[in-house]
Symmetry: C2
Subunit: 347 residues, 2 copies
DNA sequence: CTGAAAGCGCTTACAG
DNA sequence: CTGAAAGCGCTTACAG
């Protein structure tokens, strides 16, 4: 290992000091073009690779602001846990998180105010988990961009915005998995899907993926309902569904907090005829998994999304590079025998 | 961030030099008990936490030897990729991997020789992926242990050995998932399971988990076959199975390289009646997933196992701590619509 | 038993 | 435009 190429080695070879090499390598001003070229060539030919450990030791600390918009659910709690663990992993790399308060409801104005506060506090970057998309968000991100404050999105994307990247599950894939799981266990040919809110891009994607896959495999999607992640709305929507479409034998619930659907199904004694697939894992769902009303649930791993959001932000802050324009977290399929592994998991 | 507690802060507070603090904190000899106690107390009260970045910068390089025993399959290739990526992540932490050659067959003697070679080369730790378990392995690990060379196992455990930890899928859980997936899509009540070799602890666990879960849910496991991960043996075993137990409607193939089972099923035109669940993902399996002969496959993520093995070894080498006595990697369920995400994946 | 000094590979003022 | 010096927070010989 004694053979690692350092800035000093390059300095010796090119007859300048390591300070000059540093400047050339990091594109700082005040290095003669010709010198710079020589240095860069030497670095390349010697296989130089900056030592990130040394860089972390001297770098000034980086502040990352965190804004999580609306809906205080298990999904958000896991997201936050992931972000916190991600920050903790980078503690010695001098990364600091600046959390803004969490809201139990969606308030566009508040979000904008919080982001502005973070800017004033001088954060180096912002991790933002948006709920619904709006023009103000796009404008705000544009503004931050021009102020050189990168924004990494998590759980959802904001199309046409200048965010650096987004870490999220692929909604169309989630919908497809829901459809395919139903194919495996559904008896009839008619289905329905429930989401929280069609204005949430992710939810629309789920509908699209579910519908496309269902049609492809010869199933009819008889109805799409919005539950606003409200258990009672879910309950009454299910009632309506089963009245209007008694031939339904498969339901995909593409959102959390909508176990009302299961309650209604059991109430009507239809739980042997109708197969249900759920989304994510949370306490209220367990009972229905244990009873086999819910055959499987699709876990979107918000914990991992949070963790990745932090590491991606760090990567961008320190190297100005990003893994990909969109980073998809694989949705996982949980059954009765393995869902427990995913509650409060670490990974 | 300027408020991080350093070794220097403790030194000032306790009126010694940072060298002494270092010794006290790291349990080095030649520190008076009383001084040590004072220092440790101060450190605790000040909330001291060693800076891992600084430690990595000065630590001498660590050599990790890698031995992968037998069977050169996609599973092993992904494992190796994981180990390599794990090592690469720790490049700046001065971690170096020393690979021994891979064998396409299982040779106990060769394994022992390779491990001994690594010891002579002076590695600081060994990552070992065993195939079958034997007393010689246990003895070898014991020997390494007394020479202060920690062994981290991956993909399987060696019970009663002095390995530091093992990173692996929970075989019983894999078997249970196989059984539960069959419950979702199987028509009849009789099943069979194929594994590579019952002497492989992991395979026996799969059988146990599968059988227990099947019985629990009212299914009969009519037969258990060993394929030796050989396609032709799998093919002929399937033939025998379907002759001896024509009522079989669900099959779990708990090992790779046994798609011969699927070939036989299709040949006999039974692919509409029999549901098959596979294990892991590799090229030969794709065709049967696409045709819906294999309804789902259980992915054991050897890539992640390899990556974790490296980080666990590093943790042990640098901090003498281990996350857990056994670290389970969650098996994931792949369907037709999402298996592609897992081929050559990074994560 | 305790301490003074050098060094890991960078970055950051500051001087020339 | 280039360089000399200090420093990040540890570990490692070496001296006392």
């Amino acid at each position: 290992m004694g053979n690692r190429v350092t800035i000093m080695d390059i300095a010796k070879k090119t007859n300048v000091t390591h300070t000059t090499v540093y400047k050339a390598l990091n594109n700082k001003q005040y290095v003669k073009e010709e010198t710079k070229k020589r240095i860069l060539e030497a670095a390349a030919s010697m296989g130089y690779r900056a030592n990130k450990v040394a860089q972390s030791l001297v770098r000034k600390s980086q502040k990352i602001g965190i804004v999580i918009e609306g809906y205080y659910s298990d999904y958000s709690l896991d997201l936050i846990r992931g972000i916190k663990d991600g920050l903790n992993d980078l503690f010695d790399d001098k990364v600091e998180g600046v959390f803004t308060e969490f809201e139990t409801s969606y308030d566009r104005e508040k979000t904008l105010r919080k982001i502005n506060d973070l800017k004033i506090q001088g954060v180096d970057g912002i991790i933002f988990a948006p709920y619904a998309v709006c023009q103000e968000h796009i404008d705000m991100i544009e503004l931050l961009y021009s102020d050189d404050i990168p924004v990494v999105l998590v759980t959802a994307d904001i199309p046409n915005s200048k965010r650096v990247t987004t870490i999220r599950p692929n909604g169309r894939l989630v919908g497809s998995i829901g459809a395919e799981l139903l194919r495996l266990c559904q008896k009839g040919k008619t289905r329905a899907v429930f989401v929280g809110n069609k204005n949430v891009v992710h939810h629309q994607e789920i509908i699209d993926g579910f519908t496309e896959k269902s049609n492809e495999e010869g199933y009819e999607v008889a109805a799409v309902y919005e539950t606003q992640d409200d258990d009672m709305i879910a309950y009454y929507s299910a009632e309506r569904l089963l009245k209007d479409h008694p031939q339904v034998s498969g339901i995909y619930i593409g959102t959390s907090h909508s176990v009302g659907v299961c309650r209604k199904i059991i109430e009507l004694g239809l739980d042997k005829q109708i197969s249900v697939i759920g989304t994510d894992i949370f306490n209220e769902l367990i009972e229905y998994i244990e009873k086999d009303t819910v055959k499987a649930t699709i876990y979107q791993n918000s914990y991992m999304q949070g963790k990745l959001a932090v590491s991606e932000m760090f990567k961008y802050l320190t190297e100005k590079i990003v893994t990909d324009d969109t980073i998809y977290v694989n949705p996982e399929i949980l059954l009765k025998c393995n869902y427990k592994q995913y509650m409060e998991q670490e990974r």
